[in-house]
């Protein structure tokens, strides 16, 4: 299968992820979309690794996963902490940083 198809699918998934991040109010859903975007990137990595016949791409996917895992851990902890204090998870109500 020519690599472009994989890239197209990855691009579509990525766009959907972006759309989700920009429109959804619930922080968790935003988090999910970010995960989706990360996976789309992983897909392109592996696609290229296969196309170029070099394993580095796949190794890199590992590291992306590690980072994703760390990010989810801390992110969700944050969301929980915010929820415990402000009773809400909706992103546009958490705007303490307004000028």
């Amino acid at each position: 299968m020519p690599i472009e198809y994989y890239l197209i699918v990855a691009a579509i998934l990525f766009s959907i992820g972006v759309l989700g991040v920009l429109t959804r109010r619930n922080a968790i859903i935003v988090f999910l979309c970010i995960e989706l975007m990360l996976n789309a990137v992983n897909l392109t990595l592996v696609a290229f690794s296969n196309h170029v016949q070099n394993l580095d791409g796949q190794v890199f996917v590992f590291f992306v996963m590690i980072v994703a895992a760390a990010e989810v851990a801390v992110g969700l902890a944050l969301i929980v902490a915010i929820f415990r204090q402000k009773e809400t998870v909706y992103v546009d109500e958490i705007n303490l940083m307004k000028w």
Partner: protein, 174 residues
């Protein structure tokens, strides 16, 4: 031939699941949709001769991260969200435009693939180098040893961070 059929099926599945995830009203269903997408991506990995990555992917993502999400969703028992999209109409329109632009790029890639005869950046080496476990393992512990160690430190930090955040006894501010 089987491979292309399988590819299109997985592709279709992944995209619909992704759309379902961002559209669905209840967060639990969104998480489930995401799991389906992850399955399809794992499928792609296998198609791309990367069985080890597919395996690790399923374990780490589907197994750990999504479970964590489910756990948090259950913990905060978020029910139906009334208005799931952001308030300002203005940002929704902008978001949609952003989506279209990204699609534009995808289409562009299609143009490159079909009309200009594909990306010829790669060196068409032999297929033998399969993404099997020993070759990736060897690579991990030789060329990428340093990043590997740093990754472990990163995970440790993340764990500590999460613990501290959770421990704060924050009183709800009225």
């Amino acid at each position: 031939m089987l491979e292309t059929v399988l590819f299109f099926a997985l592709a279709l599945l992944a995209v619909t699941a992704a759309i379902g995830m961002i559209v669905h009203r209840s967060p639990v269903y969104s998480v489930l949709m995401l799991i389906i997408t992850l399955f399809s991506i794992a499928g792609f990995y296998v198609l791309l001769n990367a069985p080890f990555v597919a395996a690790v992917h399923m374990i780490v993502y589907a197994g750990a991260i999504i479970v964590l999400f489910l756990f948090v969703v259950m913990l905060l028992d978020l029910r139906h969200e009334s208005d799931r999209f952001t308030l300002t109409k203005f940002s929704r329109v902008l978001a949609f435009i952003a989506f279209l632009v990204f699609l534009g790029e995808a289409i562009l890639l299609v143009k490159v693939a079909f009309i200009d005869g594909g990306l010829d950046i790669g060196l068409g080496g032999q297929v033998s180098q399969l993404g099997d476990t020993p070759s990736i393992g060897k690579l991990l512990f030789t060329a990428y040893l340093l990043p590997f160690e740093i990754a472990s430190v990163l995970l440790l930090v993340a764990i500590i961070g999460a613990v501290i955040l959770a421990k704060q006894n924050l009183k709800p501010s009225q």
